[in-house]
């Protein structure tokens, strides 16, 4: 069975769950209790890999705002009817333009804004690199503002004490890279590339076909420890070996005893994934997740979002990073959910790519937020109240187009903006702004949040904002208090 075929069977299994019945349970069921200790904060980084242009999502320029139609025809400006502004929202967005073609995605960003505008903040920025991998890394290190550590590592250091896997990373490219500062190994990202099967990596023997009983394996493990004690390697001082044995003999028992192989199991029982045959079972959250993420197991992004939720709910992680990668997700009918190489397919077709991929990002962010709101945490609030979503991206895209063209390619551009969602931020705000005559964004005063046309925001400001919102302090942190609730 190849990978796609296997995933197709997973989809069949997921679809077997009655979506309607599972959805109907959500509003009525009492909130589940979260496992993480109180007082923690949670970071979700969604990597909009390839260059998600803020002009094509939450900071659009309407053609009517440009001085002349002729000039508007040469800029990344949208017809007025392509832009939505839900009731109560100060933030506008480009609708799902339903361009059809090869890439299918029905989610409308306007639904996201309508549901979450109170927690939604648009923050302008001018990045410092148009090289993808370099820019991606800078998007998570604040271009080195915190000595080179990533914001995920910093959050894991601040909030990850006692958690089994404080920092899990399912993203790609530069978003997957570790920071450049020395940090404890436990806060380095646990890299996960197969979220649908990650649960199996949390136990050394459960579900292994034809394996002997647990007691036999534990005896073998005991013998192994004795063999290691008399091994020729034991006499050679080695930090690598010490680390390996520490992980194996101290951390691994904790992962196994937490029963994560069940709690994180996204597969459902089906003829092609006969979990019970291997004494495994679907996560108790499986039906609710399948209702929120109906393409669980097939859609890589939805599957990543589902495992991100479970990792935080079960007190395993405080920082989870995920996002579309180079490979698009294919549906069993052959249609394609993402553009290849994610946002960077804008080189070929800017509008289709940006519109498709932003819809994808908002769809999973919406699902994640809704799931986090179902879990009670810390004195009557929910997990969402302690969370922040940072939609990180490489850079913006070029601001001009061939006059009047609706189908065109775009290049990389430093000027852009980022999307943040969190109850901890002053939501329903655009921090900075955009000049309709150039489609270039401008900055703001971090202490007040007021727009400043002469202010240039950098990656370090974004990093500082996340740090500030999640109680992470470091020398040189920019004052972003004007953006905090």
């Amino acid at each position: 069975m190849n990978r796609r075929s296997f995933l197709r069977h997973l989809a069949t299994g997921a679809a077997a769950v009655s979506t309607a019945s599972a959805l109907s349970l959500l509003p009525f069921r009492s909130r589940a209790k979260a496992a993480p200790p109180p007082g923690r904060k949670f970071l979700f980084v969604i990597s909009a890999s390839g260059g998600g242009s803020i002009l094509d999502s939450l900071l659009p320029v309407a053609a009517s705002e440009v001085s002349t139609p002729a000039r508007a025809a040469t800029l990344l400006a949208f017809p007025d009817e392509a832009i939505a502004q839900p009731t109560g929202s100060a933030i506008r967005c480009v609708r799902n333009l339903r361009l059809g073609g090869t890439f299918s995605n029905d989610y409308d960003p306007a639904d996201f804004v309508a549901a979450h505008f109170r927690d939604l903040a648009v923050v302008t920025v001018e990045n410092t690199s148009v090289n993808h991998v370099v820019a991606q890394k800078r998007a998570i290190t604040g271009a080195g503002i915190d000595g080179g550590r990533t914001i995920m590592e910093a959050v894991a250091m601040r909030h990850g004490d006692g958690l089994l896997l404080p920092n899990v990373n399912l993203a790609s490219g530069g978003y997957l890279e570790p920071g450049d500062a020395p940090v404890p190994d436990r806060v380095r990202g646990e890299v996960v590339t197969r979220p649908e099967l990650f649960a199996s990596a949390t136990h050394g023997y459960r579900g292994i076909p034809r394996a002997p009983s647990a007691s036999v394996i534990e005896r073998a493990r005991s013998a192994r420890r004795n063999l290691d004690a008399i091994s020729p390697l034991a006499s050679r001082p080695s930090a690598l070996r010490d680390r390996y044995l520490e992980l194996r003999d101290e951390l691994a028992p904790g992962l196994e005893s937490a029963d994560l192989i069940t709690k994180l199991m996204l597969l459902s029982e089906s003829p092609d994934t006969p979990l019970s045959e291997f004494e495994l079972a679907q996560s108790p959250d499986g039906p609710a997740l399948a209702a929120q993420f109906p393409l669980l197991g097939v859609d890589r992004l939805q599957t990543q979002a589902a495992i991100a939720f479970l990792l935080v709910k079960h007190g395993v992680s405080c920082s989870v990073t995920f996002g579309p990668g180079f490979e698009p997700s294919f549906l069993p009918d052959g249609s394609i959910l993402d553009t290849p190489i994610a946002f960077d397919f804008s080189h070929n077709d800017h509008v289709t790519t940006q519109n498709t991929m932003w819809s994808r990002i908002f769809e999973v962010a919406d699902g994640l937020i809704r799931m986090l709101k179902t879990v009670e945490y810390d004195d009557g609030s929910t997990l969402w109240d302690a969370s922040l979503i940072y939609v990180a991206t490489d850079f913006g895209r070029s601001k001009e187009r061939p006059a009047g063209s609706l189908t065109f390619g775009s290049g990389h551009h430093l000027n852009n903006g980022n999307v943040f969602v969190s109850p901890r931020l002053k939501g329903n705000r655009v921090f900075g702004g955009v000049d309709p005559e150039t489609c270039l964004t401008y900055g703001f005063d971090g202490r007040t949040g007021e727009p400043r046309r002469d202010e240039v925001m950098r990656e370090g400001h974004l990093y500082s904002l996340v740090a500030h919102a999640l109680d992470v302090d470091f020398a040189g942190r920019e004052d972003m208090s004007g953006l905090l609730r």
């Binding site: 890299v191 076909p209 073998a220 013998a223 192994r224 008399i230 690598l240 992962l255």
Partner: protein, 207 residues
């Protein structure tokens, strides 16, 4: 070369040498500054790491070669997907096409020892099953249907497994350790347990 030039050159060398000894953070050395009392480094360079991680491709190939298995007969999650593919990154490989991961992780991940266990346990279990059903390849010295294992057969099996999995002869102490697994265990379970214990030692993962 004239004598005054030589003495100036020697003097400059001494000054440069003294400057190089100064601990950082005290500003540049120059004429009139006092030389430091010692030149000892403030921190010792760490000793070079003597071991390497046997990463994904090498590890998978070595285990398969040792047990005469391949991707279709080795460890497979749910008997469907090769464990080596599922756990590529945790085993030290890198997912170039799926994740744009151009370099593998520098050090073992938190889940690495567990996926090593899964990989080797799946492979050992499958090898024992295959040997029980047809002409044995690895466990020929055992009657895999037997309910007990003699100490001699246990030691012979351990010896064979050390050669196959660690590519060396076992010591008497190591053979005795594995032979103890045969006590109160049937032959099949002993075979898997011995294979697993040896195949997941730190020596099988690091070199």
């Amino acid at each position: 070369m004239t004598r005054p030039f030589l003495s100036r050159a020697i003097g400059a060398f001494v000054l440069v040498s003294l400057a190089a000894c100064r601990p950082s953070g005290n500003g540049p050395a120059g004429p009139g500054t006092e030389p430091p009392e010692t030149c000892a480094p403030t921190t010792e360079a760490p000793a070079p790491e003597p071991l390497h991680w046997r990463r994904h491709a090498a590890f998978v190939t070595d285990v398969h070669a040792a047990l005469a298995l391949d991707a279709t007969t080795g460890c497979r999650e749910l008997d469907r997907t090769p464990c080596g593919d599922v756990h590529l990154v945790a085993l030290g490989g890198n997912d170039v096409f799926g994740a744009g991961q151009y370099e593998p992780v520098a050090r073992p991940l938190a889940t690495t020892p567990l996926v090593v266990d899964r990989f080797v346990l799946g492979a050992c279990s499958n090898r024992v099953t295959l040997d029980a059903e047809a002409t044995p390849v690895v466990f020929g010295m055992l009657d895999l249907a037997a309910s007990t294992v003699s100490r001699d057969d246990a030691r012979a099996t351990a010896s064979e497994l050390f050669r196959r999995l660690l590519r060396r002869d076992a010591t008497n102490e190591e053979l005795a350790e594995i032979a103890e697994l045969a006590e109160e265990t049937n032959a099949r379970d002993f075979a898997v347990a011995a294979c697993f214990a040896i195949g997941t030692t730190s020596e099988a993962v690091l070199y």
